[in-house]
Amino acid sequence: MDSWPLTVTVRDLLALPDMADVPVVAHDDDLDRAVGDVRVLDRARLAAAPGEPPPNGAVGGLAVVDCADGGPGALAGTDVDVALRAAARERAHALVAVGAPRLAEATRVLALRLGVPLLVLPRARATSAISEMMLQVRSPRVRHAEVVCAVADRLGRAPREPTAVLDIVANALQGVVQLQSGSRIVHAARSRPHDPAADPGATTVPTVVPLGEVRAPFTDVINGRGTAVLPIRTPDPTSGQLVLVAANRRGGPAWRSMALDALTVAQHPVAAWLGFERLSEERRRHAASAVLDEIAAAGGQLSAQALALALQLGWQPRGWHLALFVRPVSDAPLDLGEMAALEEELRSAGLPVEGLVPRAGGAAGWMTAGSSDGLPTVAATVRGVRAAIAELTGRGEPGDVVVGVGSARSGADGLLRSIDDARRSALLASPYLDQDRVRAHSGHSVERVLASWSGDDLARREAAALLGPVAGTPSEETLRTYLDLMCSVSATATSLGVHRNTVMNRLRRVQDDLRLDLADPATRLALQLALRTAPSDRR
């Protein structure tokens, strides 16, 4: 966590509640200058001679000028220009123009030319905004504590849904606060602006913050926005990493430090909610799995109780179904976060899949329609699943999976059979990243034979033991390619882009490591089956 900030920048002042949507004219870099004090630029200072030295304490301060009184002979509006010049002369780090009219182009150009950030404050907010700025500049620790305590106080009295929690923090910080899982925003909240028309981009729109693995809280400027990031400790260590992120385009170091402490306060209700949600989600998915088990136990018949439960879950068991089966490449079961992410991507890809239901060896999902014509075709489903997996892989989630697509079937019995088709296809889908990880059911006998082999736990364990010495090495890839290409050394060398002598050397090493003879047809058959089923990490 950051130490207490010693300085407050212009950007920090812009993040104050009364300043969040005020118009600003400034070069972005000029907003990062420290502000030493706040003082009024009176008429005498405006009229000071160019060479006259600034008063004590004026340098590096925030100058405030009241533009309502144009003074004798003055035309309204020019006062801001005069004040900008005076502020530059006194080396102020920003000018707050209270009650200024709509800025002319000349004023904007001048502010940029002189390097004096210009903040236009509505008269109605002047008193509260200036007192806020004075507190922030003169007593940043008090301001910091005020905001963090306010968050704690409101959280203590508010409902514990994450949206309500994030809303409280966002409004206290005048920024955007989001709960992020990997590269996905789970929940987000934005502060309510004083005047949405004034500067709608003043806070920030919720945007995924590119993060690697976050081990500790930190603050930084990310994509031009002041950002605080806090990893959340969830009750479930297997769930993906969740972080709370607060961001504000106008968030300086003081704001970022304050945001991090506010997030620290907010993380506990969020973590508690996540634990509760996880329990509810698990309960729902296992209830769904139990209904499928009951239908299977009844030989595909739908008892009145099972029908009632299915309808309760929103299913239409008597319709037409097209199932998917998601199989993790490793033996680790899919966690809830992975299932939720995959469901979301499948729906984004145009596949209206019911919630994935945990099954032995993976998870099943299906689409239902009143007739077979109402379902997506198998080919369209395969394309959609490929797109969803590509999207998730691109974001580094979920875990390594392959997917089988079943065939369209009707009724409760048809649902079970479609799931079984999809499961067998998933067993045959290639676990290798460079190959197609989605396989559609063909109904061919070869598929059934291979599925029987791949689905057998003992066979899978034996296969893993057989390939263990070469698992994950270039030799394994060479062996797989060699067997797939009808044991042609030349074709293997071409496919891998290596010299044929390299292929020969690797195959020789495989034989040495595995103590096998590739000239033996039974050995080749066993190795090819093992390579298709071994549950190792194939990256």
Binding site: A76, A83, L84, A106, R113
Partner: protein, 358 residues
């Protein structure tokens, strides 16, 4: 650069004074009136053409100073008032003479001379036809030294000389006589009468004796306009350097750059704000105007303010650029011609702080 507190133009010497207005002098005055319009006041071309026709028919018009007139001789001021668009499009006829006749009847005395109410813009030569018609000279003076939008923005008003009684007349012969009104009320009454007179009219006003007017007018303004016009024409014809013009007008160059934006900023009264930038130095000009240029700031420093005359010139041709002739990308030289000392002597700079609407 800051405005010198006691700035003022040097008084015209006797040798520089106009003594009569011939065709050449009319052209000089018309060009000088564009300069003194401070970006507004309307174009003097139409009334200059009328004045040339009058002078061509009846010979040069005598020009006199107030000191040359009898103490009790009455001087009347003439102006075209009303909507600028109408004044630009409607050719003047005999309305000034009709208004003058109405006021003469009301007062029961003939004027010994006429004067233009404002030297800046179209009104610079408005008194020529009526003076020629009544056979009296015109006075080398006006009430503004530049252009202003209201009839009460004059040095006479500052001295307490009322605009009323005054007469208004339209080209169709309709006339209105206002017997008495204080300064602010005179403007209101005039504005109220204009719609009935077609939106614009000739006004004959500020009738006062020469003795009372002495020290209450901008003296020598016709000569000043003629001198400025004469030199500026030579500059435009590349027969004289710009410095000659600056010296003649006691002018200061404030800024040179390109117009970047022209916008209306409403703050109480609508104000046009012109932004220009000097590409070499980065300096920023802000020129605020309602009907005329009112204040010029460079890099946030006020370098000119009414009643100074602020002049924008196109650096390619040295043409005087009026407010409605500005456009983005036009290269400008902006000058300050100091206000006549009479304004400062009478406290006019302070009095002009109010709203101004033509």
């Amino acid at each position: 650069m800051a405005i010198p507190p006691d700035a003022g133009r040097p008084p015209a010497g006797a040798a520089d004074r106009l003594t009569s207005l011939d065709v050449d002098a009319i052209d000089d005055v018309a060009l000088g009136a564009r300069v003194l319009g401070s970006g507004g006041g309307g174009s003097p071309q139409t009334l200059a053409a009328l004045a040339r026709a009058v002078v061509g028919a009846s010979g040069p018009i005598p020009v006199v100073g107030l000191a040359d007139l009898p103490e009790n001789g009455v001087v009347m001021f003439v102006a075209q008032v009303g909507a600028p668009q109408i004044l630009r499009e409607r050719l003047p006829a005999h309305e000034a003479r009709i208004a003058a006749t109405a006021l003469i009847r009301h007062l029961g005395t003939r004027p010994v001379a006429f004067a233009s109410l404002e030297i800046g813009g179209s009104n610079a030569l408005v008194s020529v036809p009526v003076a020629a018609a009544l056979g009296v000279p015109i006075v080398d003076a006006d009430g503004m030294g530049r252009a202003y939008a209201r009839i009460d923005q004059t040095t006479m008003a500052l001295r307490g000389i009322p605009a009323a009684p005054f007469a208004l007349a339209s080209p169709t012969g309709t006339w209105v006589l206002v017997g008495d009104a204080d300064h602010g009320r005179a403007e209101d009454v005039l504005r109220a009468a204009l719609p009935g007179l077609g939106g614009a009219a000739a006004a004959v006003l500020y009738a006062a004796t020469a003795g009372r007017l002495r020290g209450a007018v901008i003296d020598g303004s016709l000569s000043r306009a003629a001198a400025l016009g004469r030199v500026l024409r030579r500059v435009q014809e590349r027969r004289a350097p710009l410095g000659d013009f600056l010296r003649t007008g006691a002018a200061t160059a404030l800024f040179e750059g390109i117009v970047r934006r022209i916008e209306q900023v409403r703050s109480g009264t609508p104000t046009m704000v012109v932004t220009a930038v000097d590409a070499r130095s980065g300096a920023v000009l802000r020129l605020d105007a309602s009907e005329e240029f009112g204040v010029a700031l460079v890099d946030g420093e006020v370098l000119a303010r009414e009643p100074d005359v602020i002049v924008a010139m196109d650096v390619r041709s040295w043409q005087v650029v009026m407010l409605d002739e500005l456009h983005v990308g036009r290269p400008l030289l902006v000058l300050r011609l100091p206000a006549d000392p009479a304004w400062h002597a009478l406290g006019g700079a302070r009095a002009l702080g109010g709203a101004r609407v033509r």
